[in-house]
Amino acid sequence: MRSRILIVFTIVMIVSLMVSAVMLILTSGKGAYTSFDGSWEGLSDLRDHLDDEGYDVKVLISSSSLLLSEEDPEKTVFLSLGPERAYTLTEIHAIGSFHERGGRLIMADDTGRMDPLAERFDVGFPSGQLYDENFQTNPSFVRVDVNLADRFSGTLLLNKPSYLIHSGGRVIAKTGRSAWVDRNGNGLRDFDNTTQGEPLGEKTIAVIVDPDFLSLGSGCAVFISDPSLFLNEMIDQKDNRKFISSLISYLLPDGGTIVIDDGVHQMDGAASVFQRGVFGFVFLLSDVNMKIIIGSMTVIIISAFAYLFDPPERLEHICLLDRTGLAELAELNLTKQDVTEIKKIILDRVRVRNSLSVDDFSKLGWDDIRKMIDDDRLYRFVRSGKNYTVEQLERILVEVTGWGG
């Protein structure tokens, strides 16, 4: 008993250490726009800030298709910043469903990879970096005024932002009239032409797609064309931090959960191994097409194993004493080949009844034998015995049984 307890204790310690090690590796993973990265391009500051504000901050490292099973979407904000890969169809479907069930979305992108998702909300992220005369130090750092539904107004400092196009919704941040988009990426503003080139004009930076979500009790999606304002380096610039706090409190007036999507970003080092593994596992089991395949294959393979399984032999005493065997009566009925034997039986009976030896009997003629048999039918059978059916043979046999005593 003591050794068993010791074994269990040792195993528990080993398992705990392994789990802790995995956790440690994952939480030390680094990469741009990842939640545990403390460098300039990480989001650790954002995560700590939101945590300090009393929100329940969670990091999603695999796939946003898990949002399908979110039980409290109305108290959850899904935060996706500058994805490094496009969302899969299943993920788009899951995020859309999350939104329909009352979920809150904050989607910030300047790469264009969020376009397939944003299309569901009639929002687009055209390519090209936005420039404005209203910049700080460097034209890449653009200043933009923000007005969040009379809850907050201030100035955001953006880093190489893009812009977005939308139909409907409420704009909460936009540039002045002096902004333009460098479509060809040469850093210069080209011809001032409204259909081609890079004209000056107001550009939308952030929009709330469902401005009446609180009164309607629906979901709410916020699109922002620059994810960098959430980074460690940028969060303390201008009113970026206050804006983020106000936005979150606007979406979650009674508090709630914030889910940061690290699944669209690549961690480096050992953490990436775990991340890829978890993503692959979740993808196999949550993607609509893969679900059906995996589910069906699982059931088929397991059923096949169960069917092919050979159970062990039962222990039991087998007694063969009641076994039987047949020899002469293996064939129950007569066949045409038995004609000779029936004839022999009749002749032997005649011989024995008349106390004759085999030699003496063989010297007799057919007339004598006929007299001894004294039955025409039997005599004809003995004499010729051809073309008798099995039924006829049986009748003759029955007759012979009673014949001669």
Binding site: R4, I7, V8, I11, V12, I14, V15, V19, M23, L24, L26, T27, D51, D56, V57, K58, V59, L60, I61, S62, L66, L68, S69, E71, H93, S97, E100, R101, V259, V278, F281, V282, L285
Partner: protein, 271 residues
């Protein structure tokens, strides 16, 4: 003489049907997909299946004497009925071909019957397997008992494009009733009657079953409610941990000491 224990798996089978009924209040939505006004709750189908299974067992010899291969003939009859319904609907219905088939009352009646048979089949097989002590029929019963909640889950997820919540405590009780049905069937199969000769063996198996199921229940319950048991710390703030994957991972982590113990024991036993 001895105590007949055949009633025990019946109790668990009924309990499982009851739990499924409570677990899936939207079962009627599933049956409404077959026929709009079909408002028989699952417990109704299950009870019907159990009763028919017991009656069939009681009169099976007489039935088989009168009708050879009754199950095969029933299957053939159902197929012929569908064929006839389709032909009649196509011949006498109104509208184009598709409408004639889809709006056909005969075909709908067939679907309702098939639905009823599928819903009551698990308990039919379950009760028959207990009475006949048949492992083959029992395996089919278990398959059927799992397919019922599976059908509900798939249908509801497809309908609402979301995953309906399942209460952990009710899930635990449902799981235990199914486990109880499986184990108590094996008691009946092995012992049937409990008397002096097998009394000790039965008692030991009963104690082991309760012990192991208890430990399993604790592990499963912890896996579902671990969040409320430990303080929120940054190191465990992954969203995956709040999903079914996290619950599964916690469950596996809790099971791993037992698994490793089993492996260590088997190695030591092998020496």
């Amino acid at each position: 003489m001895g105590l007949r224990i055949r009633f025990i798996p019946f109790v668990f089978l009924g309990g499982y049907a009851l739990c499924i009924w409570l677990m899936f209040p939207s079962f009627l939505e599933v049956s409404a997909g077959i026929y709009r006004d079909l408002s028989v709750p699952y417990i109704g189908w299950a009870l019907m299946g159990g009763v028919i299974g017991s009656v069939y067992y009681r009169y099976r010899e007489g039935l088989r004497k009168r009708i050879k291969n009754p199950i095969n003939k029933l299957g053939l009859g159902l197929v012929l009925w569908l064929g006839a319904s389709i032909l009649i609907s196509v011949a006498l219905g109104e509208g184009d071909l598709q409408d004639r088939v889809l709006d056909s009352g005969l075909i709908r009646a067939w679907f309702v019957t098939m639905f009823g048979i599928f819903m009551s089949a698990p308990t039919f097989l379950g009760s028959y397997s207990i009475l006949a002590r048949s492992k083959e029929v029992f395996s089919l019963a278990i398959l059927g008992l799992i397919i019922v909640p599976l059908t509900c889950m798939i249908y509801l997820q497809a309908q609402s494009v979301s995953v309906p919540r399942q209460d952990p405590l009710l899930s635990l009780i449902t799981a235990l009733t199914l486990f109880g049905f499986v184990e108590t069937f094996h008691w009946v199969y092995k012992y049937d009657r409990i008397d002096v000769q097998v009394g000790n063996l039965f008692a030991r198996q009963l104690i082991s079953t309760i012990l192991f199921a208890g430990v399993g229940s604790v592990i499963a319950f912890i896996a579902f409610s671990w969040r409320s048991m430990i303080p929120d710390i940054a190191a465990v703030s992954f969203y995956e941990m709040d999903t079914i994957f996290g619950t599964a991972a916690i469950g596996l982590a809790l099971l791993s000491p037992i698994a490793l113990l089993a492996i260590v024991r088997s190695f030591r036993e092998g020496k």
